[in-house]
Symmetry: C2
Subunit: 574 residues, 2 copies
């Protein structure tokens, strides 16, 4: 330990800063170490946001499915949000004894050997492939398809640990796309590094890799990346991808990556030399903030989509999970991840595109939001009264079917169906989707003992009551509104040695409200029946009973390819 940290860490009022790097902004949070009190916070919006239409530096249009970011925006969060949060907390910065971060993932960039993003090298600002590719950059789907096909063909052991499919969002698909589309940038990239790890390099001056992204996004299993032979079979030029650009010692979560450099101290206003925790991911850093890291405690981070993270004592293959990684959430346990591709996104789609004016007018008249009005009217119905059942696949299905070409369905419509009926059915469909995931874990020998909700949808009583009724479980809810940033602060406290491990830090600094929503037995009985219907339709449409959703998509794609003008017209309305 160096002097700075020693001083702070001995102070009973010592604080830690957690920084959560999101899709459009970064948030800093100052947390008191001894009790997790959140003393101050600040947000900084990324100047360039998401570049999905054009490259800001040149105005060059970007192809469909691209999503880039500017790495300077990340540094700006350190420069602005961190000092602002400390000011908001009203503490002396010297009380801060460490900093931790979490990032969206897989957000990944090409860098030189000294950590410079290639887009910041002279002459490369105009090269799209030189920029960080945001998690939702999906243009590497053809590459992902080839990786998956080859993995199954070669019976690679790792593929089952990812539900049988790696995603176009992850390091290998994005890396292979880079190689094939801009070999020069690929060549010049000494590193292919998660933004989660790159930001730590900026804070410490030292390159590190964290167990979470290496495992979930980097296909690192049992200490190894996919083999040179496998990579060469994809493309001979790709053979050295892992060895040359990824390979690096991997540190456990909560480890100290290094100390805050003089430069980073200047950016943040924090003491030079304080502990910096290794990188982490927004979803995976949340369970410690919810005091929910014991095996069987599933944390569902519910927002536009839902990410389910849970620790298990042993390795099991759970069909359709996103991944299982040794120490992927907490060192010493197997971290399981599953997901639902569309949740809040679906409710927003419905509110934006399928609700008639009378509801908008009434919400305005009553001074409430449209979602609140729909929730109130939907909540006034008894379960089952609308006669509907929906499949929540409007954005595809991640777990447990791992099929992004599925689509949504609503069954049971009549001339008496009204907007709150459909709204309720859509909310229920996402709850059924969660129950499928929970059941699949249980069937695979990884029982879920407690369901803890975090994320933006924790504010919606109606949604959570439906989830309690559908899953027939009491729901716990994370106490903090800033789960990821608090989780990052917890990891900083561990990295600094304030707590011996994440378990101790989580117990002291994290919190949840237990059993906030209790299942209503009458509703739960109705939902048992509707869940049986959901499962039947789920398997019929999702497991090959009727591949109509794939065929409809095929027809659509063929039609649009041969009629691009019409497609544009049809897609012209927001």
């Amino acid at each position: 330990m160096d002097d700075h940290q020693a001083v702070s860490a001995n102070n009973p009022d010592a604080c830690f800063v957690g920084v959560d790097f999101g899709t459009l902004s970064g948030r800093a949070l100052v947390v008191r170490a001894r009790d997790g009190a959140e003393l101050g916070t600040a947000v900084h919006e990324y100047a360039h946001g998401v570049m999905d239409a054009e490259l800001a530096a040149t105005g060059e249009p970007l192809p469909p499915d691209w999503a880039l970011q500017d790495p300077e925006d990340y540094r700006d969060v350190l420069r602005h949000a961190v000092p602002a949060a400390v000011a908001d907390a009203g503490i002396d910065p010297s009380l801060v004894a460490g900093i931790g971060t979490d990032f969206t993932a897989c957000t990944v960039l090409p860098a030189s050997a000294d950590g410079t993003p290639l887009c910041q090298l002279p002459g490369l600002a105009g090269r799209p492939h030189a920029y960080p590719k945001l998690w939702k950059h999906h243009a590497g789907q053809p590459q992902a398809d080839r990786i998956n096909a080859l993995a199954h063909e070669r019976r690679e052991a790792w593929i089952v640990r990812y539900g049988g499919k790696i995603s176009s969002e992850w390091e290998f698909a994005k890396g292979l796309q880079l190689l094939e589309e801009d070999p020069e940038i690929y060549q010049r990239a000494d590193r292919w590094i998660e933004a989660a790890d790159w930001i730590i390099w900026q804070l410490t001056g030292t390159e590190t890799r964290n167990a979470c992204t290496a495992g979930y996004k980097g296909i690192r299993q049992d200490g190894r990346y996919p083999s040179r032979e496998f990579l060469a079979a994809l493309d001979p030029r790709f053979a050295g991808f892992a060895a040359d650009k990824l390979e690096h010692a991997v540190l456990p979560l909560g480890a100290r990556a290094g100390s805050l450099t003089e430069q980073a101290a200047a950016w943040t206003g924090l003491p030079e030399g304080i502990a910096v925790a290794v990188g982490n991911v927004d979803a995976h850093v949340t369970p410690p903030a919810a005091a929910a890291i014991e095996p069987g405690q599933m944390v569902a981070i519910m927002g536009t989509s839902t990410c389910h993270v849970m620790n298990g004592e042993r390795l099991a293959v759970v069909p359709g999970m996103c991944g299982v990684v040794d120490g992927g959430i907490v060192a010493g346990l197997w971290g399981y991840e599953a997901g639902q591709s569309g949740v809040g996104d679906i409710f927003a789609w419905f509110a934006d595109h399928a609700v008639p004016p009378e509801y908008h007018d009434e919400a305005r008249r009553r001074g409430i939001g449209l979602h609140e009005l729909l929730s109130q009217e939907a909540a006034a119905q008894p379960a089952g009264a609308h006669g509907l059942i929906a499949l929540d696949w409007l954005n595809g299905n991640r777990s447990v079917l791992v099929d992004h070409h599925l689509s949504g369905a609503i069954i049971g419509l009549t001339l008496a169906t009204r907007a709150p009926d459909i709204y309720r059915a859509l909310v229920e469909s996402t709850a059924f989707g969660t129950r499928v995931i929970i059941d699949t874990f249980a069937d695979s020998g990884i029982p879920v003992t407690e369901l803890v909700i975090a994320g933006g949808l924790t504010k919606n009583d109606f949604v959570l009551q439906v989830y309690a009724d559908v899953t027939r479980r009491p729901l716990s809810v994370i106490a903090s509104d800033q789960g990821p940033a608090l989780g990052s602060a917890i990891h900083a406290a561990v990295a600094a040695g304030w707590y011996p491990d994440v378990h101790a830090a989580s117990a002291a600094m994290g919190a949840k409200h237990q059993a906030v929503y209790l299942p209503d037995p009458a509703s739960a009985d109705v939902y048992d029946r509707l869940y049986a219907e959901y499962r039947l339709l789920h398997d019929y449409f999702g497991r090959g009973g009727n591949a109509v959703m794939h065929r409809l998509r095929g027809v659509r794609d063929r039609v649009l390819r041969s009629a691009p003008a019409a497609a544009e017209r049809s897609g012209g309305r927001a």
Copy 2:
């Protein structure tokens, strides 16, 4: 022939009046005999409209699914609409050589032996069962269910001629309901008579029965009603229902029922003694107006629902048809009827309850209707571009599944789905439903050689183009905007002897525009693929592959029975 008619019928400018009694109003049309020219028209709204909430005479609330009318409203149409139409035509009333009518069906009433509706007898104005029951009175469903079950149990030969199910709307279900719920009124009803026949009684002073309603709504087949034994098995008191209250000579369509009485001449301002055609039904009177009465010419009367009527040379059992009746459309041919329970109703439901404000605003800005805007935007898409397929069962399915407990479905939704996409998918789903009916007729040996469209939806180019593309057929369209009233005038001309038969009268006075909409081959190819998907889902959800729609309805009904207050809340919004 009496004097009045002889005079007019010799005049080359002779005219005939057709009167179409609809659900909310009656329309009279003055038509020149020699060429079908429509010279004048007028509408009279029923003062009591549809009594489905309370009985006007007493304010007594009516139970769910009831729908009554006041017979005086029908007489008022004769008093007001007929003279107004003649005035509108600007002709001397003495030029009118006959009158014909058509009615909604099965609209049926109890009457005394002299034709007085029981509700007009002293002391009976407060008895709901003494009033005409409108076609859409559905409270006799339990009785219909028992009739169907018994018919199948006893293997009654007639049941297959009604697609295996008679409707709660028809004479026997409504009659049995009357018996069981108000035996005194049943007892006092000397006649149980279609309003179609009752109005002729008012015009002529003579009781008649027409072949159309007797066959389609009265289960009269091969000259016989269901047997006394069958009726007694339903209820011993019902044994004489057909013999005592229905039985009467049945006249062919276009026959002369009698001559206009002095009283009816005073009501209408028409010459006393002119010919009055036997009663008829709005749908079945339409093919002559469209010059489409040859075997194989299917007339689809498209409005809130669709009725398909077509002549055939021989008797065949077509699965799921509404009925096949000897002379049911034109004497000497077998009249086939099929139907789709929801068509325009579905489009209206969508426009009213699922379209966001931006489209309402844009339609207002452009000074067009919402349907027109949605149609324009939907029409701008190539077929298949929305990636959706829908089942058009929001109001159940009449043909060919004969299952009113089915419900609607939409498959293929994504976050990119917009209102015009769903609108188009719903329009297409009704076209697929029509194609199923056409295919079923063909499979049963009754090929459809021409598809002729009549009804309110003839005004919607987009809808009809979709139907042409989906059925891969040129569509003909009835020339008149007043198909039923014109058809009634045609039958009047036959009854008066101006034409020897309906064929000749239809050829001279009826008309259609041929091949107005031609199938687009590229769209038709796409629709062949989507139709295959529709059939697959149709059979899966409609033929027992997955009875989820029935079960959802069952859950809904149980829930609502046990939570009536919540049900009311949920149903409170219009």
